[in-house]
């Protein structure tokens, strides 16, 4: 150890196992430290009213935990993470400002759980393909604005979607040589745990004998929930009738649904009825 005229001390320590406690209490200190060791335990406790820049460059091949606890009233923390194979976990307690997260990676798994009473979340996804597996449930009390600029987007109403996914139902009943007041009906009991939605129905009625072909072929249709004995819809017509419902008729699980068409012509006719909807 040698003394220098400006009271600078140069200290060189060469040893296999060295512990050097240093307690410096001075108004102004410049202490460059160059540690070149395979194993270093470095405990630093800085208690200062103002701290300038602390540049830390860690070039280790493996790195353990780094615990950082910042209890300042105002902190600007820029973190640039190039790559961490084990993942990154951020636990943010309270943020009153803005949190900007920019992830530039070819493959990212991002699990986000937001439990907040008020959240403004702007999501801008410029990826070409997005796959969502499983169910997505969204409960929205405000306004949802959707701006779709894709050239190929399919949005289906429930009846169309039911037909695409194979849960649609089509019922038919027909008979022939029916006198006035008689008719034909079909029955269906809604499957357990499901609801039947009727979207429309139609019927036809035509003379059984050729001699009556030019006469009126009056008929009427009734849709009835036989379990509650409530008539759900009816319509009449000459030669047939039909209706597409703007609001589907819902029939609960276990209820017996009956669709019926009746001959109201004063001669024998043949008639049939079709009903369509879906069951989910």
């Amino acid at each position: 150890m040698a003394d220098y005229p400006d009271y600078t001390s140069l200290m060189q320590i060469i040893g296999s196992d060295i512990m050097v406690p240093i307690d410096v209490q001075a108004a102004y200190i410049m202490m460059p430290i160059d540690i070149q060791a395979q194993y270093v335990t470095l405990e630093i406790d800085i208690i200062a009213q103002s701290v300038g820049n602390i540049a830390i460059d860690i070039a280790a091949q493996t790195l353990g935990n780094i615990a950082v606890n910042i209890a300042a009233s105002a902190v600007t923390l820029n973190v640039s993470i190039a790559s961490i194979a084990g993942g990154v976990t951020f636990n943010i307690g309270t943020v009153s400002g803005t949190v900007n997260v920019a992830i530039q990676s070819s493959a990212v798994t991002l699990n986000i759980a937001i439990q907040s009473s008020a959240v403004t979340l702007n999501v801008n996804i410029t990826n070409t393909t997005i796959n969502v597996s499983g169910s997505v449930t969204a409960t929205i009390s405000g306004t949802v604005s959707i701006n779709i600029t894709a050239q190929n987007v399919g949005v289906y109403l429930q009846p169309e979607w039911a037909a695409k996914t194979g849960v649609d139902k089509n019922f038919l009943a027909s008979t022939t040589n029916v006198a006035f007041g008689s008719g034909i009906y079909g029955d269906y009991t809604v499957a357990t745990g499901k609801t039947l939605y009727i979207c429309g129905f139609s019927c036809d009625n035509f003379a059984y004998n050729q001699a009556d072909a030019d006469s009126n072929q009056m008929c009427c249709v009734y849709l009835t929930d036989m379990t509650t004995d409530v008539r759900l819809a009816e319509i009449g017509g000459n030669g047939g009738a039909g209706m597409v419902l703007s609001k589907p008729i819902a029939i609960p699980s276990g209820h017996q649904f009956r669709y019926r068409v009746t001959n109201r012509a004063n001669h024998y006719t043949s008639l049939g009825i079709t009903v369509w909807g879906y069951e989910v």
């Binding site: 194979g166 649609d168 139902k169 089509n170 019922f171 038919l172 009943a173 027909s174 008979t175 034909i184 009906y185 079909g186 029955d187 269906y188 009991t189 809604v190 499957a191 357990t192 499901k194 017996q256 069951e279």
Partner: protein, 67 residues
Amino acid sequence: MKGLEKLHSGDFNDMSQEWQPDGSVIITLSKRGEDKVYKFRVRNLYQPDEQEVDIATGKPIAKRDIR
């Protein structure tokens, strides 16, 4: 009996019912994607004593004697 099971479980897309003079009904069920059509005859449909009967005669289906 398979057809009757499909009727009660709702496992079909299309159903046709033809009521017969004896009060039974011939039911035809089909489902898209399945290369099968189920046609069977039922007496007392949806009643506690519902019974599948012979589609041609409307009489109870004879059980096989396996002795």
